[in-house]
Symmetry: C2
Subunit: 458 residues, 2 copies
């Protein structure tokens, strides 16, 4: 990735002899400064959005855009070929007595490390999503949730993919990728709004929560297949069927293991005496899930999610969730901010005529993403009166799951800058609009109960 | 560090074209496999040691030795120039369709990432050590704890350093480093044994706990100075005095801030509404501590510890501790295991005559380390009958703090292999013997109370 860097080390670029200790100081200073910048910016914007009753996730993305490649150049992802802020460079160079050119090189290393921390955040986030999937509750609303989820996967996927191919002339594989990114449903944002408006225990609320879990499962299966297609480049039927079968079998085995293996896990954890047994055993299962998924040719994120699903049936699930949360709070925030830092804001500048095609595409994806999910409200039969619009809007936010899709798409390099920006705008748009529209549509208490609101936001 | 690696990428070493996705798969497989190996081995040995009523830390070190450079070659630290196990190579190469030579290169990257995760573990561990320092309790046993701590720092430091210089002909700087590593006291191990034997609330128990906190402070100050000396190589009086003054002022300001700034921290945290506020703010303080310490020329670990000290007075300290613990359980375990993986077992093989000098040196350090701390029991005046031997033995285990010193010494490359092994054996020896001897000396309940034992070990 950084081919030029060790070469420049070998060449006499640095007339000053820099001690290993000074270099290490510069690394520590840069790492600590980046950490502070990332978390201060993310926190500041998350606090603003919480006060507007909007999802904090959007704040973390915007924080990344502000400090990143389209903004202050304080934090840059490793794949971006641009220079960090000269202010930061001067500060670190001055404090560590390391020449400025070398700080640039050290920054490249720091950036790779940040990316690997954000990768751990991604796995921890999907593990947590799996842990929080209530499979027993899902069975109760089974058929209805299944039809809502299926419609919510099929309509956006078909509409997005076909529209991009036939209306915008996008290649098949990037179009499929974009379509797949539109299938996600973020349970967290809807659950929070439903909780605030005391709507979580209604039949509509339970349907949406169940369908969102199923959507996660279907979406991650599609993702695992699409990511492989995107890198393999082949659209032959045989490998697609093989991958799809592998992904379905993998998830089916995880669901089976959540009934059979979770009790073994509990007995094992109960028998252990050295401290830290729950989080360590949980993360061993997480690492095994990533290993097995990768070994059979699927994406590691599917393995992380499946590991969470298996343990969602453990009697220690609440402790595991609580122990995983601080890791997600730190490292998944890093993941979201890093997505923002890599975002090229210039491709959505409407004043540049070259961008207008991309913006029209983003608008198209947003409309399909909204309509495709709102339609799910009419995907089931009910003899009682049911608030179909609330169900549809509840399925709308793509949230963090949509971002995971986007990040994996970005790493395969099949998405053009325009399409990447369009997907990000679609994710942000649906995530932003869902809570606003839900509050308009739901005849709730208006979120005046401070206890419930604070419980939902913690 | 890995100058040859990107060069070999540029040269046509790989006739097969390896896709980015296959390379990524190989990275994920290696990373996940290493994680599983490290945590399974650490857990297995920690469970054995817990059942023998011995510190789990030793189990984690031994696990590292077994899977590392002196054992199975499954996990190797980045600085070790040797090949990983061919079994692991074959497994990953087979599963990812990446040629074996490239797996070796990918391993080198994985290893650097593991090292940076273990670095975060080190900072989190010292932050936690700071958080758990009960400064109010310390004031109550102030004078007595101060004399115990001072003797426990001066005797091992002077004895170790002078002995190494005059008896073993070791150079001044490595001798000072080894002496500094002997000043540490691990509060965790003693607190656990005292807890089991219902000895924690006695005057002796409180003295030891207080003195151990002071020892940590003094030891880390010495470390911050010594590490700088080790890399600077100068023994002039002026820079030493300057560094010592900087370290003392830094710690004094931290202690002052723990009274004045902790309430601000609490007000800030209380005002925040987005989730994850406590751990994120705690880690921002941690990163700031590392930044400031490094910026004024001290070690980042001192900053991490000072950040913990500042927040030890927060009303949220218990939640912060609980939120930091899973991070320490994962990443600090990684740190300890990685120390074990880099250990060169061959230098302590007594069958090799070249090693006997090193082993005699290790024996000398161990004896000085034991006597220097046991003597602390007689360092204070008390009109009541007091169990001086229990106090002395309680101060004995070096534990994780000793290892932090060793790891920093290793990273400066001033320690010979022999001396590094001797320090490690001293740390293991004192950590191992302290609980055994304490149980012999203390007239406790014999640890039969299962509730107390489980409370102390969790």
């Amino acid at each position: 990735m950084l081919i030029s860097q060790p070469l420049s080390w070998a060449l006499p670029l640095h007339p000053l002899v820099v001690s290993a200790h000074d270099k290490e100081s510069a690394e520590t200073l840069l790492g600590a400064a980046e950490f502070v910048v990332i978390f201060l910016a993310a926190r500041l914007l998350a606090e603003v959005l919480v006060r507007l009753s909007l999802p904090t996730l959007i704040g973390e993305l915007v924080a990344g855009v502000i400090i990143g490649a389209s903004g202050l150049h304080l934090v840059l992802p490793p794949e971006i070929q641009t220079n960090i802020s000269t202010n930061l460079l001067h500060l670190v160079s001055g404090l560590s007595s390391v020449p400025k050119e070398m700080v640039d090189e050290i920054y490249a290393e720091t950036s790779v490390k940040l990316a690997s921390f954000s990768q751990v955040g991604l796995y921890a986030l999907l593990f947590l999503t799996g842990l929080e999937s209530d499979l027993k509750q899902l069975l109760k609303v089974g058929v209805r949730a299944l039809s809502v989820a299926t419609v919510g996967v099929v309509l956006p996927f078909a509409g997005g993919t076909l529209g991009l191919i036939y209306l915008f002339g996008v290649d098949v594989i990037p179009a499929i990728f974009a379509g797949a990114a539109m299938t996600a449903t973020s349970i967290g944002i809807t659950a929070k709004v439903f909780g605030e408006l005391k709507y979580l225990k209604t039949s509509e609320g339970q349907t949406v929560i169940g369908a969102a879990v199923l959507d996660d499962i279907m979406g991650i299966v599609i993702l695992a297949v699409v990511a492989k297609l995107a890198t393999g480049g082949s659209l032959a039927a045989a490998p697609i069927v093989k991958l799809l079968a592998a992904a379905v079998v993998f998830v089916a085995i995880s669901l089976f293991l959540s009934r059979t293996a979770a009790p073994w896990f509990d007995r094992l954890v109960d028998a252990l005496e050295a401290p830290g047994e729950k989080i360590v055993c949980g993360f061993i299962v997480l690492a095994l899930g990533c290993f097995v998924a990768t070994a059979i040719g699927l994406e590691a994120v599917l393995g992380a999610f499946a590991a969470g699903l298996v343990l969602s049936n453990s009697k220690h699930v609440h402790e595991l969730t609580a122990l995983t949360e601080p890791i997600v709070a730190l490292f998944a925030t890093l993941f979201f901010v890093m997505i923002g830092t890599g975002f090229d804001f210039s491709v959505i500048n409407p004043l540049n005529p070259d961008n207008r095609g991309g913006l029209v595409m983003a608008g198209f994806l947003l409309v399909v993403a909204i309509l495709g999910k709102v339609a799910t409200g009419w995907a089931y039969w009910d003899k009682e009166k049911t608030n179909r619009l609330a169900v549809g809007l509840g399925m709308m936010p793509r949230g963090e799951v949509g971002l995971v899709f986007l990040a994996l798409g970005g790493s395969t390099h099949v998405l053009s800058n325009n399409l990447e920006a369009a997907i990000l705008l679609m994710v942000i748009g649906t995530t932003f609009l869902a809570p606003l529209l839900l509050r308009l549509v739901l005849p709730g208490t208006g979120g005046d109960d401070p206890e419930l609101v604070s419980a939902a936001s913690s």
